[in-house]
């Protein structure tokens, strides 16, 4: 579905992603790794927000390198950024609508998708008229996920979605993602993989800009090294 071939990225002279090759299949994929491993950078590279030093990225056979961010999004890649990137002065409702309005393929379904999203995150519906910037941290993250869903993506990328969410919602979220992967391919990044392994088919573990372990969810949960480093608390 999404193919990264030998990509490398750097900030200034500091290389952050080194000659990385990664194939993301339909279904759901986890990208795990500690702080600073380069997960967010890869996502930014997929979106075209960070430029590639080398390599290429293609999505469902379409070469992305020359495309602008919004064109990539129109192809069906939707991202829930780690920093949420909401529109703070717009209401919750407006944030959601903007999320659906600007992707041609999602436009017609806006109303229906909105209902679905509100079902997943009831708080959003309660707070339709609240300005996004005044929502609590966890509420904002829910809104960010909801907004990304509004685009009816073919590939949904979530960058550490559980950050700041209450335990019950984290739990629900991964259950939902698991259900959703029938219609949408999913890629999640996380540092702590216990919850997310429930939701993914395959996982990649990266450190220092490189992928060091790849395996199915089962393989990873039984891998003692992974157990030790990533399943802590």
């Amino acid at each position: 579905m999404l193919e990264l071939k030998n990509i490398s990225c750097s900030y200034g002279r500091m290389p952050v992603v080194r000659d990385l090759t990664l194939k993301i299949e339909e279904g759901s994929t986890g990208l795990f790794g500690p702080n600073g491993a380069g997960k967010t950078t890869i996502i930014n590279a997929i979106l075209g927000l960070v430029s590639l030093k080398t390599g290429s990225i293609s999505f469902r056979g379409i070469e992305l390198n020359k495309l602008k961010t919004h064109e990539r999004v129109h192809l069906g890649i939707s991202v829930v950024p780690q920093e949420r990137e909401l529109f703070p002065l717009m209401t919750v409702y407006e944030n959601l609508i903007v999320g659906g309005q600007n992707v041609p393929s999602a436009r017609e379904h806006v109303e229906k998708t909105l209902e679905e999203v509100c079902e997943i995150f009831p708080i959003l519906k309660e707070r339709f008229e609240q300005k996004a910037g005044t929502m609590s941290g966890g509420q904002q993250r829910q809104l960010a996920v909801g907004r990304a869903l509004m685009a009816k993506p073919k590939l949904l990328i979530l960058d550490e979605p559980s950050l700041g969410l209450q335990p019950s919602i984290v739990h629900d979220l991964f259950t939902i993602l698991k259900d959703m992967k029938k219609d949408v391919s999913i890629m999640v990044t996380e540092q702590n993989v216990r919850e997310s392994l429930r939701a993914v088919d395959t996982g990649h573990i990266m450190e220092n800009g490189e992928i060091i372990i790849t395996g199915t969810a089962d393989e990873l949960s039984n891998n003692p090294e992974v157990e030790k480093a990533y399943m802590g608390l």
Binding site: P34, N35, G36, I123, Q130, T134, M135, S136, G137, G138, Q139, R141, Q142, E160, L163, G164, L165, Q166, P167, S168, I169, V170, H171, D172, Q191, N192, E195, A229, Y230, M231, G232, L233
Partner: protein
């Protein structure tokens, strides 16, 4: 020995009462967890105590002084320290300079002394590369810087708002140790907001559980976690 106490503390934003009649206290040497669902009012409670918001009603006492109407910067000087859930480092300053601000203004030190003290503090937190810009440091370092900034104000009471979020397990364990150590060394009263229950069990003596602005339970985490209301409102099936 210090004590912070809130008395019927309430704030409404328009129609929404984000903190509702909260009576809460915390004493030196205590580490109290503040938990509850998203939007329960944890950050708002901290903002009220720190003086970012003024309460609609109710009072805040710090050692028998009513501080509920004095401005935030004075509360900081009086000994209320806090970190931010949504981190906004001071981008125009280096890491060291970020940490210095508390020494300079809350503790009213001179530049030279503040610089030395900040260095010392960062050293105890094992935070290095202090001349870097805040955009260049990673999350663990950022979190350490946040804690250092709060400590730099020489707090009697300190609130940590999801400082562990975004750290991996090793780092989280490290952070827990740091917080514990500092709390005992300085005999601090610490309020901790976290959604990772592992952290709460390891770190806190007791917790309060907020839901829609009200305290719905309090006591040691082990007891509270059995509370049905807490389970249904917050923990859910998985925990």
């Amino acid at each position: 020995m210090s004590e912070l106490r809130t008395e019927n503390l309430t704030i409404s934003f328009g129609g929404l009462t984000a903190t509702n009649d909260v009576n809460f206290n915390i004493k030196s040497g205590e580490i109290v967890g503040i938990i509850g669902p998203n939007g329960a009012g944890k950050t708002t409670l901290i903002n009220l105590i720190a003086g970012i918001y003024y309460p609609t009603s109710g009072k805040i006492w710090l050692d028998d002084r009513d501080i509920s109407q004095i401005p935030a910067h004075e509360r900081s000087a009086l000994g209320i320290g806090r970190t931010f859930q949504l981190i906004h480092p001071l981008e125009g300053l280096t890491v060291l300079q970020n940490v210095m601000t508390g020494f300079l203004f809350a503790q009213k030190m001179g530049l030279k002394q503040a610089r030395e003290e900040a260095r010392k503090l960062c050293k105890t937190l094992e935070l290095t590369g202090l001349d870097r810009a805040t955009g260049e440091i990673n999350i663990l370092e950022t979190k350490k810087m946040e804690i250092a900034k709060a400590l730099a104000t020489n707090p009697k009471v300190m609130f940590l708002d999801e400082v562990m979020a975004g750290l991996n397990s090793t780092e989280t364990l490290e952070a827990i140790d740091i917080v514990k150590q500092i709390a005992t060394e300085r005999n601090l009263a610490v309020g901790v907001v976290e959604h990772v229950m592992g952290v709460i069990t390891k770190l806190t003596h007791s917790v309060i559980v907020l839901d829609t602005g009200r305290i719905i339970a309090s006591g040691p985490y082990k007891e509270v976690a059995q509370n049905e209301r807490v389970k249904s409102a917050y923990l859910g099936g998985g925990a």
